[in-house]
Assembly symmetry: C2
Homo-oligomer: 325 residues x 2
DNA sequence: TTGTACGCGTTATCAA
DNA sequence: TTGATAACGCGTACAA
């Protein structure tokens, strides 16, 4: 692979000159500029970004740590993050933590060794202390680590409220809610808080089921659903904390021959594309995933440039009514 | 961020010594080794991989170019690729081409500038010539560019045959097939060839619908499905070239009040997780996505090390019967 | 067992 | 308008 020296030699100029035309800095005569461009084409020269990054102390790489890209929510998030990063001249290094604290820590160290310009954290299995000691531009998705570390989330409380209220308004009186592990300090837990509040306001005894969520384990979902319906056959409303879980609920209803939405109504969360693939298509709470991705990238870039930035972004959610309510 | 010099100074040794304990090379006394490790901890030293890569001419980064991670097949592929890469000490740079030739070319150049050790190409919008001129370890998924460039695919012909034969065996006589754009030279086209062959063997007039696939456009899928059922209300069997398309078929059947599997049977392709989320769960042709990812990473590493390697991997597919047939 | 000095490919500084 | 040189952080040949 050709280096700047090769170009310089072939174009019979100094490396400085080549560097100049490359970065369009300082004065260069039209003649030399053209000559240099010419030889760059000839040699198919691609400047070595590793050397550039080393010198500039800036790699233009952003690390993205998420539980697993195979999960639709994170897949869509990753897609948008990648797109906004690319539009701003950044590349994405993809890391799936599988919610394993060891792996998450190793990934963080790996990213630091590679001198990424910032880290977008969508996985949160470590202690607050560890994130604080990072000393790197960082932004978290759906978890507030501390006052200093910016976070992005959508309005989880409002989302939970919208979902719960919809079920109540539609006449449900035996309502279940399936959430993730509430031990983890995730902002998503506010959905459950909102659900509780709405149930209390309406004097409905809530049924709340925690999933492990430590692995997006689909077998687990199936089991939980079948147990739920076995133990509470009278359920007429269900609010699931993800569209995928809601899909399994739909599936279980089919098995149990409970008609949707006549006998039971179901509300999902996220509004990933999959919510619209399944039959009947899911009523759900839409998170602005593209916006979350955009703001995450933007926040990293602002931190790098010491530009002013918000430390909390709480984006709006929206109820999307489809066929399960 | 601490450098090797900082560590050396604080440990009162030379940088060489630090480098030695870091890479575990040559002789070092236990005493100095411990002392160095100690100060590395104290300074929270992370060796600069950019500098290392520059020197070793090896970045341990693999570029992954796919149409879009938001599509379940590529999301799962990316997840497995990332995992195998990580297990072998490699990182993944994620690129979504959106099947745009300009973007794909820019990504290839970007990856070369960043001196990635290899490129896994899951997006194929360029001319054969351009791929041949890459001079970099490369492996393609589901497209054969030339004799020299290794490719990985699953047995598309067999997959198509299994799907078509199943529908025939189950008694379907009016069978439709929805495939991608056959103009692109993808190996996936063999599914359609197999479908044609099976239909001919059984003297069934095939109905074949091409989708644009240039964007995984879900609105397009909805339109195609509704037109298909309007024009051919007699259809009793459908083979879709992806599980997502099959999901939309299921949805349309519900709208048209066609019962699955009694009145119409549907077979998908890929066996992504989503095939099992929808109701009824999809009969589909399983591609070994994890294996494809593993072989892709392995192929890149072999090419780097000039180890012997296959130039064609055609992995086995499997019929997974669920509730739509 | 440890240290000195050079080179990896670039860019910035200074000089011509 | 152009060129020589130092430096970025690291690994290795060679010397001690």
């Amino acid at each position: 692979m050709a280096t700047i020296h090769d170009v310089a030699k072939m174009a019979k100029v100094s490396v400085t000159t080549v560097s100049r035309v490359l970065n369009n800095r300082g004065y260069i005569s039209e003649t030399t500029r053209n000559k240099v461009f010419q030889t760059m084409k000839e040699l198919n020269y691609q400047p070595n970004e590793l050397a550039r990054s080393l010198l500039r102390k800036q790699s233009n790489v952003i690390g993205l740590i998420i539980p697993n890209v195979a999960h639709p929510f994170f897949a869509e998030l990753a897609s948008h993050v990648e797109r906004y990063a690319y539009e701003n001249g950044y590349k994405i290094m993809l890391c799936n933590s599988h919610l394993d604290p060891v792996k998450e820590k190793e990934y963080i160290d790996m990213l630091k060794r590679n001198r990424v310009d910032g880290i977008i954290m969508g996985s949160h299995t470590l202690e607050v202390k560890e994130y604080k000691e990072l000393h790197s531009p960082i932004v978290t998705i759906d978890r507030q680590i501390s006052e200093e570390i910016p976070f992005i989330s959508s309005d989880n409380y409002e989302g939970g409220r919208l979902a719960a209220q919809l079920l109540v308004d539609k006449g449900c009186r035996k309502i279940a809610h399936i959430c993730g592990n509430l031990e983890l300090q995730l902002l998503a837990n506010q959905r459950t808080a909102a659900f509780r509040d709405v149930m209390a306001e309406n004097e409905i005894e809530p049924i709340i089921i925690q999933t492990d969520m430590n692995v997006f384990d689909e077998q687990q979902y199936e089991q939980i659903m079948s147990r739920l319906f076995a133990e509470h056959p009278e359920i007429d409303g269900l609010f699931a904390t993800s569209d995928i879980i809601a899909s399994f609920a739909v599936k279980e209803c089919r098995k149990a021959d409970k008609h949707i939405p006549e006998q039971i109504k179901i509300v999902g969360y996220d509004d990933v594309s999959a919510a619209n693939w399944i039959t009947p298509s899911l009523t759900t709470i839409r998170q602005p995933i593209a916006e979350i991705g955009r703001v995450a990238v933007d926040s990293i870039i602002r931190q790098m440039n010491n530009e002013p930035l918000e430390h909390r972004y709480v984006l709006e959610v929206e109820l999307v009514e489809r066929l399960t309510t």
